[in-house]
């Protein structure tokens, strides 16, 4: 692993850690909410990077696991079960189980078929959520924030922020270790040459399935945080456009770099927030057409920015004297 990547990860995390006191000093609580939101999506994007960037599995339905995690919280909350120590295991178990099922079937295919079948499964759950009248159907439902027996108060913005931060940091660290482990070697090598891996004796299917299930579970955890963040759950989170956005975050940030997708999520959500406002400044009512600018930016990054934002940063650090290889 690149030493630059580690420094970039630590610097990014340090900035997230330092943000809340600054928002308090400058009395801008809105930014704390926004960065919390960025970090939730960053967790989801990093989990996608495990299978997309490192494992070469182009899952076009990854947002569905965010939905599963969110609905686990929402539905339990609906029945008055707000205890996080119950909600989190249920949410993780549900997203793991659904990831295992969808993965087991999807991973029998490759290429375009894999992309399409993951998309189809995700849309299936999306429409299932719409049909759940009891839980608000299309409109979704409001949900309480999780309770942790008085240990953590999720309604305290500062505490909630650092809960998300710690989860992101642990996910990054854990996956960083995982990618370099024996297991990580297997999924990375299988991306590059699956046939050779089988020839030397790796039943690659089960390793890919394990990675797929793990990524789904982590994304489910992001869903738990997402439901807490919004105090609201709706089918919209599972819509395929959100799966697409997660892919954009990963590709924009730099596939297979883990920290890249965190930067990608940051850039994407900041653009989504501010691009309409800037366009509004330029021309009245232009803001609603922000996608006209966003689209070309994404295309430019994919075409010209190979390696995404991560490559840009890494190159800068290298030029300023950072060591090339760890």
């Amino acid at each position: 692993m690149d030493r630059r990547q580690i420094w970039l990860s630590l610097a990014t995390l340090a900035m997230f850690a330092a943000a809340p006191p600054l928002t308090v000093i400058f009395d801008q609580p809105f930014y704390m909410d926004m960065i919390a939101r960025i970090m939730v999506f960053a967790i989801a994007a990093v989990s996608l990077d495990l299978i997309l960037g490192h494992g070469g599995m182009v899952s076009f339905g990854h947002a569905v696991y965010m939905g599963v995690g969110a609905y686990a919280v929402g539905i339990l909350s609906y029945y008055g079960l707000d205890n996080g120590f119950l909600q989190i295991p249920v949410a993780l178990g549900a997203s793991a189980l659904i990831g295992l099922m969808f993965g087991a079937l999807s991973l029998r295919t490759t290429g375009v078929y894999f992309i399409m079948i993951t998309l189809a499964f995700a849309q299936m759950l999306y429409f299932l959520a719409i049909s759940l009248e009891e839980f608000g159907g299309d409109d979704g439902m409001s949900s309480m924030r999780s309770e942790f027996g008085g240990v953590i108060d999720m309604y305290d913005a500062m505490q909630f922020y650092y809960v998300i931060f710690v989860v992101l940091a642990l996910v990054l660290f854990g996956l960083h270790r995982l990618v370099l482990s024996r297991f990580g070697m297997v999924i990375r090598a299988a991306r590059s040459n699956d046939r050779r891996m089988q020839a030397v004796g790796f039943p690659t299917y089960r390793y890919k399935l394990a990675a797929f299930t793990l990524a789904s579970t982590i994304c489910g955890l992001a869903g738990v945080l997402f439901a807490n963040l919004n105090e609201f759950v709706s089918p919209d989170v599972m819509h395929w456009t959100h799966s697409g956005e997660l892919m954009v975050m990963v590709i924009m940030g730099g596939m297979g770099t883990l920290i890249g997708p965190v930067l990608g999520a940051t850039a994407f959500l900041l653009l989504e927030e501010y691009l309409p406002q800037w366009m509004e400044l330029a021309m009245t009512n232009a803001g609603e057409h922000w996608a006209i600018i966003m689209g070309p930016i994404l295309i430019a990054i994919v075409l010209f920015g190979r390696g995404g934002i991560h490559a840009l940063f890494a190159a800068t650090i290298w030029r300023s004297g950072g060591k090339r290889n760890g």
């Binding site: 024996r182 590059s192 020839a199």
Partner: protein
């Protein structure tokens, strides 16, 4: 006589109307280098794919070390000690040469559901891999990305990756493919060095190499074994000369 390590009984494979392997019977003896030769399209690579488990056979059985492996998958056969190399170099170009071999060592070291300790610093994987690279003559190139190795070195790496799974039987699909004279000579030496420790099924177009190395040769034409025997017998076999060696000789003469 010792029991054959690999027994092929009535193996067949067709692609539509094209018969690639046609009721093939063949025994590979323990410890021998058994070359399989034949003109292009004779079904040699198809046979390797069937033996390694990549292609499902239409009919027939394959027994390896006394065990029926006909229905086993490629990874399962590899785990039993049946390793193959590829005609078209099949390596992990982004990984270092050492990483490439270490992966095979890892495959041989039991399951890889180990999520925490870095594989790149595991002496249990690195040391055996380095030993194999040294043995094969790539020791000094260990840290080089595999993509940067010369063609000949990549062919050596291909063999090293197969060796690292500690196979009892090696299926080598044209190890000299695309090699120059010097590189081929090195490869012949390497295979001679491996002889005795591993049983080798060798598919090769380089007839000098085949006749220098093989204990027995099988000639494959249109998926059928038209002859099996010692190199001297094969050279003297009229049917073989007609089907294969004859045309080769004519080509050599005309191109000279």
């Amino acid at each position: 006589m010792a029991e054959a390590i690999l027994q092929i009984e009535g193996l067949a494979k067709s692609f539509g109307s094209l018969v690639a392997t046609d009721d093939l019977h063949l025994d590979i003896e323990q410890g021998e280098i058994h070359a399989i030769i034949g003109p292009n399209g004779a079904g040699k690579t198809t046979l390797i794919a069937q033996l390694s488990g990549e292609l499902k056979s239409d009919s027939g059985r394959v027994r390896f070390a006394g065990r029926d492996i006909t229905t086993l998958s490629m990874p399962a056969r590899s785990a039993l000690g049946l390793a193959r190399s590829f005609q078209i170099t099949s390596i992990f170009p982004d990984f270092s040469a050492l990483d490439n071999v270490a992966l095979s060592v890892q495959a041989d070291a039991g399951h890889s559901f180990r999520f925490w300790r870095p594989a790149g610093r595991d002496p249990g994987l690195r040391a055996p891999a380095q030993k194999i690279l040294d043995e094969i003559g790539l020791g000094s190139r260990a840290d080089e990305p595999a993509a940067n190795l010369s063609h000949g070195e990549q062919r050596q790496l291909e063999i090293a990756m197969a060796l690292a799974t500690q196979p009892s039987l090696l299926l080598l699909d044209e190890p000299m493919a695309g090699m120059g004279r010097d590189e081929s000579a090195k490869m012949v030496n390497l295979l001679r060095h491996l002889k005795g420790r591993h049983t080798i099924v060798l598919i090769e177009h380089d007839m000098d190499a085949v006749f220098a190395l093989a204990d027995r040769i099988t000639v494959l034409v249109y998926g059928r074994a038209i002859a099996t025997g010692a190199p001297g017998d094969i050279r003297a076999n009229d049917e073989v000369r007609g089907a294969y060696l004859g045309t080769e000789t004519v080509q050599e003469v005309s191109s000279a």
